[in-house]
């Protein structure tokens, strides 16, 4: 589950508060109620997704996001990591929705990290279609160019310094995480989400950097998650990693950190094979290096060692997650607390490169309060 997102400053409490929701501990068997106590829809087991409708917005649910991260390469060898995220959050009284969006770019050669956030209420300048993928927030948009082929266009950027004009096409089929259409997120019966992921999207287009237009191509990961559940009070943050292996497989890992420092039982690691089939696996995480943000004072574990079992061989494998740059912290203050979301590469014990990754680290800022 790519469920992300940070705790927020109290400024705009509910928005990111709810983004936390899906991290409540997995629990089990209670059948899902139709709605939460405040009247929002709850994901139902056995739900049949219809597309392109379910790529669009689900306003009956409290919270929803579309989350793109990816690695891009220019012809001259320069490489970049980017993030483009669209959030929707319903007002508690369902009168309106807030739309938050984040964009970020790391220029690996220079180490320069750009990011910007945008917050609008639902209306002429921020909206999400309920029939297909068509998201807008200010000048930023993510929409299908061809709903059948699921080919999409991302327009975005960071102020006028960076521009994204990318076309993304699935290289692999859509993955629905969880069981029976539902990804359970905690002990509460309402704690569940619909969790849809394009694990590998071929990405090409033009990246504008300053006055330069750079033709780029690469691969992206896109999560779309829909839920209405509440945050577990005991969780203080999470670490999340998505990996594109060069052999055509992917891996998605998250660890929910509890107040006492342990990992929540809901933490998990999932492999996606070349055909798009998922398989959970065990994991062990060791922090290799931390980095203290000069901006926020947060100390992030930006270099970690993930030990798991490779389902293709049945043997243990150690994945070294190495950031392409340390300074990849989004310090914005519109939507919540700062977090680190960075482009990484994956090395094995011998230092051989196995693939590219994105890692997300939340709840490390020292002012974090639940």
């Amino acid at each position: 589950m790519a469920a992300k997102r940070r705790k927020m400053r109290k400024k705009i409490p509910h928005l990111l508060f709810l983004l936390f929701a899906s991290f409540a501990p997995l629990c089990g068997q209670t059948s899902a109620p139709l709605t939460t106590a405040d009247g929002f829809a709850v994901p139902q087991p056995g739900h049949i997704f219809t597309f392109p409708r379910d790529h669009g917005s689900h306003p009956e649910f409290k919270i929803e996001w579309w989350y793109l991260t990816g690695h891009l390469f220019a012809k001259d060898g320069r490489r970049f990591g980017y993030q483009a995220t669209f959030f929707r959050s319903a007002a508690p009284d369902k009168s309106t929705h807030l739309h938050l969006a984040h964009m970020a770019l790391i220029d690996v050669a220079t180490g320069k990290f750009h990011h910007q956030e945008r917050l609008n209420r639902e209306g002429w300048d921020a909206r999400s279609s309920t029939t297909t993928l068509d998201l807008h927030n200010g000048p930023w948009s993510l929409r299908f160019l061809d709903a059948t082929a699921e080919r999409m266009s991302l327009r975005g950027g960071i102020r006028a310094d960076v521009g994204f004009n990318f076309t993304l096409s699935p290289a692999k089929p859509l993955v629905v995480f969880g069981e029976n259409s539902v990804s359970r997120k905690g002990s509460a019966p309402t704690a569940a989400s619909y969790y849809l992921t394009f694990t590998r999207l071929r990405t090409e287009g033009v990246l504008t950097l300053g006055t330069e237009s750079i033709a780029v191509n690469g691969e992206s990961w896109m999560d779309h998650e829909i839920s209405s559940s509440q945050l577990d009070q005991n969780q203080i943050g999470w670490d999340w990693v998505s990996i594109h292996f060069t052999d055509g497989r992917e891996l998605m890992f998250y660890r929910l950190r509890l107040r006492d420092g342990s990992s929540d039982a809901a933490s998990s690691l999932t492999w996606v094979d070349a055909a798009g089939r998922t398989q959970k696996s065990n994991f062990k995480l060791d922090v290799v290096e931390t980095w203290k943000s000069p901006a926020t004072g947060a100390v992030y574990p930006i270099r970690v060692r993930l030990t798991t079992t490779d389902p293709s061989t049945g043997k243990p494998i150690t994945l070294h997650v190495e950031p392409l740059a340390k300074k990849q912290e989004l310090t914005g203050n519109l939507g919540g607390i700062p977090y680190w979301e960075g482009a990484c590469r994956i090395l094995d014990d011998s230092g051989r490169e196995l693939g590219n990754a994105y890692m997300e680290l939340t709840g490390y800022a020292k002012d974090l309060k639940l």
Binding site: K11, E117, R118, R121, G138, W140, A160, D161, G210
Partner: protein, 876 residues
């Protein structure tokens, strides 16, 4: 004997005289200071009145790059997604804005007055302004009134976000902040909770106390503008190629707005520029008036320095015979003038700054009444203005000192021997009948020239003012020619009364000093009386117009409508209810929309032209040639325009104009021209149903009610005020007096300027007599020897002063007649486009004459008493 001599001479020559006669020098400085002060005060007040006008949005967003506005009415919200799509992902912030004026509800005692404070309510999406990357800003939706004193984080975002209409106010609004504020918007009084203080970034201008901020949607709802916006501002994201992107955005917006048809694109500050353009004529007029005092002062400095030259001639002659060159003498005199000028300029700056604090309010009120809502803050001189005022004092003193310096330098050494020689008869220009007549003639020619025209439709009658100044100088010269005949006329009486005989003998061959005193006084009287004639004519015309146009019994407008630019309206339902009241026999509705015609602001209004009762209300300047404008079947393409409109747009009866409306451009032919003294921007009047259809709006600006026979208007008013607390309801009599009160208020500042001018001239008269008496010290000794008593010497001086005053008064009044004509038919007509009926305020003129002559006599008598005590021979 080079320039190193100058400091020595200044010290031993000039400063010694200043030390010996400190009062006289101080008086000179004061006169200069007064002249400079009046100019500075008016200038500062002008600037404050205009500077306070702004888009306000920058308080929140920083300066925008472009702004679009409908040429008439508001813009539909539907253009916003269109704009966003057209921008095709370009990093541009689009900020829709609603701007509404509102005022506090009438409180007992002021419900009958215009000019209560008015607030500017700005509606902006308060959530999305946070995207403008101003990290210092605090977001809006977590503040509470208490957040100043406690942890701001206790605010609940959603509670605040969903709280309904709430207003953020300036830190300067009130302390402590009230929990609620009552606002009159359209005809309703709304109680709106005060949510907090407008957050401001350090680089943004601080919110003025009259600014209030609401969330866009809430203000749209409150002001009945749901789905409509007043303007859209655009801010490009920072980054590379900003100029290129800004230019590209402009092209795109202009194309999308179909080159002004859907909307016009303007740069930041354009609104302020247009406000400046709108009031330019008014402010220039005031500036010119403010120069009266300086002009009068100029005469006096000239005269005082000239007097000093005469008095110090013996010393000059000694210096000359010691070998001091002409140029050195001249330099010393110019230095003396310069020092006086510097001191006068500096003191004038201080006085002017103090005066501006008063003047600023008067100017602000006028601007409010005539042009737009303004919030006058404070008037602080800019460095350039400090330099300007000092320079003004300096230049005035040098200009006035030039000729005396030359005279001094030319003093031949031999003149020392002729101590007490007859004082100089004055500069030959001042003695030349020909010059005087030439000035008058040049003035007459200037009066025929057209005004200068500026952008924004304002006009400045430069040649008209030039004519006024030429006439003033010319009359100043000619006036002195009245003195000898006056003396001759009075001779019969004079022979029987010794002091008179002494006084008149001096006037038969008037000295340069007499001429200057008379000219200065004439200048002040002429301008004051001329202005009085203008005001009287204006008032008479206004009264006639008010009588003619105000026929209804009750006049009703939103009490939020406090300024000429206010857009507060009465809803159609309220207007219908008012019209349908059982005590009402007939109602007339007026709607008025500010529009922009070729970029120049004006008004498009509608009344029911087909109503036969409307017609006699219209005061025609050019009546329609037939009745088709009143015929609903024929008047589709016809309109009436106000006289100011014809002047401003240079269009007249029979011309066709194209007006922008929300329903597209409409073509109208001018069928007739009516007088309208209430609005300088000019207005176009068309049939009400047409205007309503074009603007798709049935709210009205004004309702006038004609009550049924036997109904008491005051009683009905009292009843209606209870039902509609947000409406201003005037009875006919009350409105008439209110209109005239505002009118007089508009002129209040000009009166103040005149009073100062006359006071300066009086000081000048005193100064003249002082120097005259000093010149005649020998004569005074002789008179005393002949047995003249102190009182008789004073009487002689007072008769001399009275005679000068009388000549100046006669000349001044004659001049004022001409100036009045010029002000009414040239300057006013060219500036504002109003035709006025010439009216003479006989009472006021007589009072002025009496005051001037009495004061002149009294001042001269006092000076005479002082002169009588002068010792026979002393260093001054």
């Amino acid at each position: 004997m080079r320039s190193s001599l100058t400091p020595f001479l200044l010290r031993r020559f000039t400063l010694r005289h200043w030390r010996l006669a400190p009062k006289q020098s101080a008086l000179l400085v004061l006169i200069l200071a007064l002249g400079v002060a009046v100019f500075v005060a008016v200038r500062l007040a002008n600037r404050a009145a205009v500077a306070s006008f702004s888009n306000f949005t920058e308080t929140l967003t920083g300066q925008s790059d472009w702004s679009i506005q409908a040429p008439a009415g508001t813009l539909p919200e539907s253009i916003l997604p269109e704009l966003r799509d057209a921008l095709d992902g370009r990093p541009v912030h689009i900020v829709p804005v609603v701007e509404v004026t509102a005022s506090p509800p009438p409180s007992p005692g002021n419900e009958n007055k215009f000019g209560r404070p008015s607030y500017t309510l700005l509606g902006v999406d308060l959530l999305s302004v946070a995207n403008l990357a101003r990290p210092q800003d605090k977001p809006f939706f977590n503040q509470s009134v208490d957040s100043r004193n406690s942890d701001a984080d206790t605010g609940d975002f959603w509670k605040s976000f969903n709280a309904g209409p709430q207003v953020w106010v300036s830190r300067d609004f009130a302390d402590p902040l009230p929990a609620h504020i009552d606002l009159v918007i359209d005809e309703s009084v709304r109680t709106v909770p005060v949510a907090g203080i407008i957050p401001s970034a350090p680089d943004a201008p601080r919110a003025p106390p009259t600014l209030m901020i609401l969330d866009l949607a809430q203000l749209q709802k409150l002001s009945g503008k749901t789905g409509r916006i007043d303007r859209v501002e655009f801010l490009i994201e920072p980054g590379p190629r900003a100029d290129e992107r800004r230019a590209e955005l402009q092209t795109l917006l202009v194309d999308l707005g179909r080159h002004g048809e859907r909307w016009s694109v303007s740069a930041p500050g354009a609104k302020r520029d247009s406000a400046e353009a709108m009031t330019r004529a008014f402010r220039l007029n005031l500036t010119i008036l403010s120069l009266i005092a300086l002009l009068v002062g100029l005469y006096l400095i000239f005269q005082a320095l000239d007097g000093a030259v005469v008095r110090r001639r013996p010393e000059i002659a000694i210096l000359r015979s010691l070998g001091v060159e002409e140029s050195a003498i001249r330099r010393v005199w110019l230095w003396e003038s310069a020092l006086l000028g510097l001191a006068g300029g500096a003191l004038g700056l201080l006085l002017g700054w103090a005066g501006a604090q008063i003047a600023v309010r008067a100017v602000g009120q006028t601007v409010n009444a005539l042009y737009y809502s303004t919030t006058v803050a404070s008037a602080t001189p800019a460095p350039s203005e400090i330099a300007l005022s000092i320079a003004l004092g300096l230049v005035a003193a040098l200009a006035a000192g030039w000729w005396p310096a030359r005279e001094a330098a030319r003093t031949p050494p031999a003149q020392v021997l002729q101590r007490g020689a007859a004082p100089a008869a004055g500069h030959r220009v001042m003695r030349s009948l020909g010059f005087g007549l030439a000035f008058i003639l040049a003035g007459i020619l200037c009066a025929q020239l057209p005004p200068l025209r500026f952008d924004g439709g304002s006009r400045f009658p430069f040649a008209g003012y030039a004519a006024a100044f030429l006439w003033i100088f010319g009359a100043g010269i000619l006036c002195a020619f009245l003195l000898p005949p006056f003396a001759r006329l009075a001779r019969g009486w004079g022979t029987r009364f010794a002091p008179a005989s002494v006084a008149l003998s001096h006037l038969r061959a008037p000295s340069g000093r007499h001429r200057l005193a008379a000219a200065a006084l004439l200048c002040a009287i002429g301008m004051t009386a001329g202005m009085a004639i203008l005001v009287a004519s204006f008032e008479t015309t206004m009264q006639g117009w008010v009588k003619r146009t105000l026929q209804a019994d009750l006049y009703i407008a939103s009490s939020g409508a406090q300024s000429a630019s206010s857009q507060n309206r009465i809803s159609a339902s309220a207007a219908q209810a008012l019209a349908g009241h059982p005590a009402v026999e007939r109602a007339a509705m007026l709607v008025a929309y500010p529009i922009s015609l070729d970029g120049i602001p004006t008004l498009l209004s509608g009344v029911d032209l087909t109503d036969p009762a409307t017609r006699p209300d219209l005061p025609w300047v050019k009546a329609p040639r037939d009745n088709s404008v009143f015929d609903p079947a024929l008047n589709a393409g016809l309109a009436l325009v106000s006289e100011s409109f014809t002047e401003r747009f240079r269009l007249t009866q029979g011309d066709t104009l194209t007006v922008p409306t929300p329903a597209g451009p409409k073509s109208l032919t001018i069928a007739g021209v009516f007088a309208d003294y209430g609005n300088e921007r000019g207005s176009i009047l068309a049939d009400l149903p047409k205007i309503r259809a074009w603007f798709a709006d049935d709210a009205v600006t004004n309702v006038s009610l004609y009550v049924k026979p036997g109904v008491d208007a005051d009683t009905l008013r009292a009843e209606l005020i209870k039902t509609y607390p947000g409406l201003s309801i005037f009875t006919n009599a009350r409105l008439r007096s209110e209109v005239l009160r505002i009118f007089r208020q508009t002129f209040s500042i000009t009166y103040a300027l005149e009073v100062i001018g006359v006071a300066v001239a009086m000081t000048g008269l005193a100064l003249t007599l002082i120097s005259v008496l000093l010149d005649r010290r020998d004569e005074l000794t002789t008179l005393r020897a002949l047995g003249f008593r102190r009182r008789e010497i004073a009487l002689a001086a007072s008769i001399e002063g009275l005679a000068v005053s009388a000549c100046a008064t006669v000349g001044g009044l004659a001049l004022s007649g001409a100036l009045g004509w010029l002000l009414i038919h040239v300057i006013n007509k060219q500036s504002f486009g109003w035709t006025l009926t010439y009216a003479m305020p006989w009472g006021q003129l007589a009072a002025l004459a009496v005051i001037v002559m009495t004061t002149g006599w009294a001042v001269s008598y006092a000076v005479g008493l002082w002169g009588a005590d002068l010792p026979a021979d002393r260093e001054e």
